[in-house]
Each structure stands twice: as structure tokens, then as C-alpha cells.
């Protein structure tokens, strides 16, 4: 327990040191404060920005795009991943192709999304979906394959129906892997949507960050970075918390 506390203190110390170093570099003039505004100024700007209605609308726009892309990519990806894992022939055909597709950087397709969907909600959701679906498919395939044959035989020998096998064996057995997949998918999803916003968009926090950067508004830019980082970490930690609660048996 003391060790555990020690680790936490060490981590906290590093975070504090990073912010302190940042503050010092800027205050002493070691780095031009116009390039690197101090940490305290950035955080103050963050507080100010969060009070502005336009920034809150941007956050809302980004959130709705991210959630829409996620809500489409996860069930679709799970379904395809499940079909691939359950059907031997389909798996043999599709798996190498998916691996090829997964290895391509998704960002190079962004201009095509803009041409097809135009600049707006559909383009960003579409690109977020596209950035996410491959990892969902591949993780689901892994999750299905992690279900042991023995478990299915046990279920069958006690007369389980298909629905019972799905909900009482497949689902709990896959849950830890699926939650992990969900968490990683969200990272891809967020990256996709923000990138689309930065590249071509009229709203969204990614669009704001790009604009601040172009206008050399470093305080706002850094505040935006801190904002998105905090949101991403909050989501990640929430899923991780659920993960540890659901997979205590995985040892």
C-alpha cells in the first residue's frame, strides 16, 4: 500500500515538474513567451475560453461528431468482426485484406471525404467512422477468438439455447477484450474527427485549434490542446475503470 502511494506521488511529481518547467522556461525568457506562453497564462486562458459560448458550441459540435462516428463504427465493426470470426471461409478471405487496409494511414483519404461529403457534419462523422472501424473489426475478431471451445461445449452440454450462449458465454467472456477495444477505438475516433476538423471545417474544437495556430494565438492554442487532452484522458480512464471492474477474473 505504501508502495502504491509512493508511485502515485512520483507520478504527481512528474506532472507538477512538467508544468513548473513550462512555467519557468516561459517566465525566465529561456523560450520566447510569444512562442510558449506560461502554464499559468494558458490555464487562465483555458478558464476564460470555457466561459465563451462559441467555444462551448465548438466543443458540443465536436462531441456530437465523435459520438455519432463512435455509435456507427462500434456496432458495425462488431458485427463484421463477429461474422469474420465465426465464419472460417470469410475469415480466411477477409483477414489479410483487413490487415492491409489497417496499415494504410487513414489521413490520406481525408481529401476524398471532403469531396464526397462536402465540408460539414457528415464529412467529419464519415472520416471518424472510417478511422475507427478497422480497429473495431480487428479487436472484435480477437475477442471472439478468445472465447474458449470448452466454454461453448459446457454451455451446449447443459442445453443452452443460442441466445443463452451469446449472452451468458460469449458476452461475458469477450467483455474485457471488447472494453479494451472500445477504449482504443475511441482514441482512433477522436483523432479522426479532430483531424477532419483541423483540415476543413467551419466549427468544432479542432477547427478552432487550427485557426488559433494559423493566427499565432499561442495561449488559445495551448489551452485547446490541454482541453482535448483532458477530455480524451477522462474518457479513457472511465472505460479503464469499467474494465478493471469487469475483468477482475482475468489473471
Amino acid at each position: 500500500m505504501a508502495d502504491h502511494l509512493g508511485l502515485k506521488i512520483a507520478r504527481l511529481a512528474i506532472v507538477v515538474a512538467v508544468f513548473a518547467g513550462w512555467e519557468a522556461l516561459s517566465r525566465t525568457g529561456a523560450v520566447n513567451p510569444r512562442l510558449l506562453p506560461s502554464a499559468s497564462d494558458t490555464l487562465a486562458t483555458l478558464g476564460y475560453l470555457l466561459q465563451r459560448a462559441s467555444v462551448r458550441n465548438d466543443l458540443l459540435a465536436t462531441a456530437s461528431e465523435v459520438l455519432a462516428a463512435f455509435a456507427l463504427a462500434v456496432p458495425f465493426g462488431c458485427l463484421i468482426g463477429f461474422l469474420i470470426a465465426e465464419n472460417r471461409y470469410f475469415a480466411d478471405v477477409m483477414k489479410p485484406l483487413l490487415f492491409f487496409a489497417f496499415s494504410i494511414p487513414k489521413s490520406i483519404f481525408l481529401p476524398m471525404f471532403i469531396l464526397v461529403f462536402g465540408v460539414g457534419f457528415a464529412e467529419k462523422v464519415g472520416f471518424g467512422f472510417f478511422s475507427t472501424i478497422f480497429i473495431v473489426i480487428m479487436s472484435t475478431t480477437t475477442a471472439v477468438e478468445s472465447v474458449k471451445m470448452e466454454y461453448l461445449t459446457v454451455a451446449r452440454s447443459y442445453g443452452a439455447t443460442s441466445a443463452q450462449t451469446a449472452f451468458r458465454v460469449y458476452l461475458p467472456s469477450m467483455l474485457p477484450v471488447l472494453l479494451e477495444a472500445l477504449r482504443i477505438s475511441m482514441i482512433f475516433n477522436l483523432t479522426g474527427v479532430i483531424l477532419a476538423e483541423m483540415y476543413a471545417s467551419r466549427d468544432g474544437i479542432g477547427h478552432q485549434i487550427a485557426t488559433w495556430g494559423e493566427n499565432f494565438q499561442m495561449k488559445q492554442l495551448l489551452a485547446g490542446v490541454v482541453m482535448i487532452a483532458a477530455i480524451a484522458m477522462a474518457f479513457n480512464e472511465t472505460i479503464r475503470w469499467v474494465e478493471t471492474r469487469c475483468s477482475h477474473w482475468r489473471t
Binding site: Y158, Q164, V169, L175, H248, W249
Partner: protein
């Protein structure tokens, strides 16, 4: 154990646990050829008997067990349990105990034992009571809240046995249940199984690789050979019960084990 509420009602009680295997064959079709896994296997098992199937790898003993469990149809011949065929799994007639890895790791011991009851929608309180009785029977009173990873190998197999018994079926099928255990635990579990068996009066069909285990546990041993799988000998084990550790080094035990070994060596 509580008396069971729902044994197959058509059959007279006197036949509960009887198994008749009559000229059963099993052929696996592959793309290149047909493999005869079992050929002309016949066994008549009286209710309450402890029968062990033993034989080299690939002799089809596990296949035969899966057929008795209704998990795999035979290609020819008939199998009757309680006088009726078993075209699909029927937990009222047959409980199955698998190898060590078959407990669900996300459920506690008692939830694992309750699993067969939960599938049939038995009410929570009744389920819990039956699981507790079954865990008590296998000597795991008070361990119900543990997860499988918190139990030793032997304890896990006790949970598996409890799960097989929780619906009080007349027949218990056991597929190499102690294969993954160390020697000492294996001996202890053998004695435990015999105690449970004599307390419940089940018909037990037990598959193993171990000749010592076979002779030690069984009323009768069916020795199988491979390619094709068939029964080459059917021994009665006349050793008195309860079986004791001392019997292992006796002449009677040795000659029974030797007789089985000679069959297996011939076919291996």
C-alpha cells in the same frame, strides 16, 4: 442433495441410470477419406455402476463419451439412457464433468454450479439452495463466493463435479476430469469421487488415460483400442469397497492393471 423435481417422467424409476450402447459406430468424413473413429461398440451398463473407459489416444473414448452426452450423433447403432435415445444434450438425464479449464472464470463457484439451473430459468433462491447443497456434497462448503482463479486445481474439479450433479441426473459422465492434477491431488480426488458416488448412487462413466486410476475407481473397465476404436476387453473389478491405498500394491490390483496394459501395448 434435494430430490430432483424433473427427471424424464416417462421412464420407470428402476431403470434410471441404465445405459445401453448397441453396435455403435462413428465415421468422420474428411475431404480425402472416411476415418472410422468407433466400430461396433456395445456396452450394457447397469444403474449405479462405476465404469471406466480406458485406452490409448485416438481410441475414441472421448468421442463415445460425447455421444453419451448427446453432443455428437453416432453414425450407426443405438444409445439408450434411461431406455430412451439421446439425440441432443439432456441435463435431466446426464451431467457432464469436463477437464479443469471448463469452469467459467467470470462466475463465482456457486454461480458456476447454478449455471445449468439458470439456463432453465430456475428461481434465484432455489438455485442458490441447490448449489449450496451440491457444493456441500463435494466438500466445498463455504467456498461458494470464490472465483475459479482463487481455487486450487482439485477444488476447481470439485466445483465441476458439483455443477454436474446440481440437477441430480442419474448419469454422470466424466471426461478425464483429473488429468491436469498433480499425483497427490489426483489420488485424493479419486477417493472423494468414490465417496460422492456412493452417497448419490449415480451411474458414472469415467474416461481416463491412467490404468491405476481405472482399476482403483471402477466396478468395470472397458478397454479400447485405436484405429478403429473398439472395445477389446471388458473387465469386472472384483476388489472390495471401500477401495484403499494399500490395494494399489496388492497382487489382485497388479494383475488387473497388467491385463489392461497388455491390451493397450498391443494396439498402441
Amino acid at each position: 442433495m434435494q430430490p430432483l423435481a424433473n427427471v424424464t417422467p416417462l421412464k420407470p424409476a428402476a431403470r434410471a441410470g441404465a445405459i445401453q450402447i448397441d453396435r455403435v459406430g462413428q465415421v468422420f468424413k474428411t475431404s480425402t477419406q472416411d476415418v472410422i473413429a468407433l466400430s461396433d461398440v456395445s456396452l450394457d451398463i447397469k444403474p449405479g455402476r462405476f465404469i471406466v473407459l480406458v485406452g490409448p489416444s485416438g481410441c475414441g473414448k472421448s468421442t463415445l463419451l460425447m455421444m453419451l452426452a448427446g453432443l455428437r450423433p453416432q453414425t450407426s447403432g443405438t444409445i439408450l439412457i434411461n431406455g430412451a435415445p439421446i439425440p441432443k444434450p439432456d441435463p435431466d438425464r446426464v451431467g457432464v464433468v469436463f477437464q479443469e479449464a471448463s469452469l467459467f472464470p467470470w462466475l463465482t463457484a456457486e454461480e458456476n454450479v447454478e449455471f445449468p439451473l439458470a439456463l432453465r430459468g430456475v428461481a434465484k433462491a432455489e438455485r442458490r439452495a441447490k448449489a449450496e447443497d451440491a457444493l456441500k456434497l463435494v466438500g466445498l462448503d463455504g467456498f461458494g463466493k470464490r472465483h475459479p482463479h482463487e481455487l486450487s486445481g482439485g477444488m476447481k474439479q470439485r466445483v465441476s463435479i458439483a455443477r454436474g450433479l446440481v440437477q441430480d441426473p442419474p448419469v454422470l459422465l466424466m471426461d478425464e476430469p483429473f488429468a491436469a492434477l498433480d499425483e497427490q491431488t489426483r489420488m485424493t480426488m479419486g477417493d472423494e469421487l468414490l465417496r460422492i458416488w456412493s452417497a448419490t448412487g449415480k451411474t458414472v462413466v469415467f474416461v481416463t488415460h491412467s490404468l491405476t486410476e481405472a482399476v482403483y475407481l471402477a466396478d468395470e473397465v472397458a478397454v479400447m483400442s485405436a484405429r478403429p476404436g473398439r472395445i477389446v476387453d471388458h473387465l469386472q473389478i472384483p476388489l472390495p469397497r471401500p477401495r484403499t491405498y494399500e490395494m494399489l500394491s496388492g497382487d489382485a490390483f497388479g494383475s488387473l492393471r497388467d491385463r489392461i496394459w497388455r491390451h493397450i501395448r498391443k494396439s498402441a
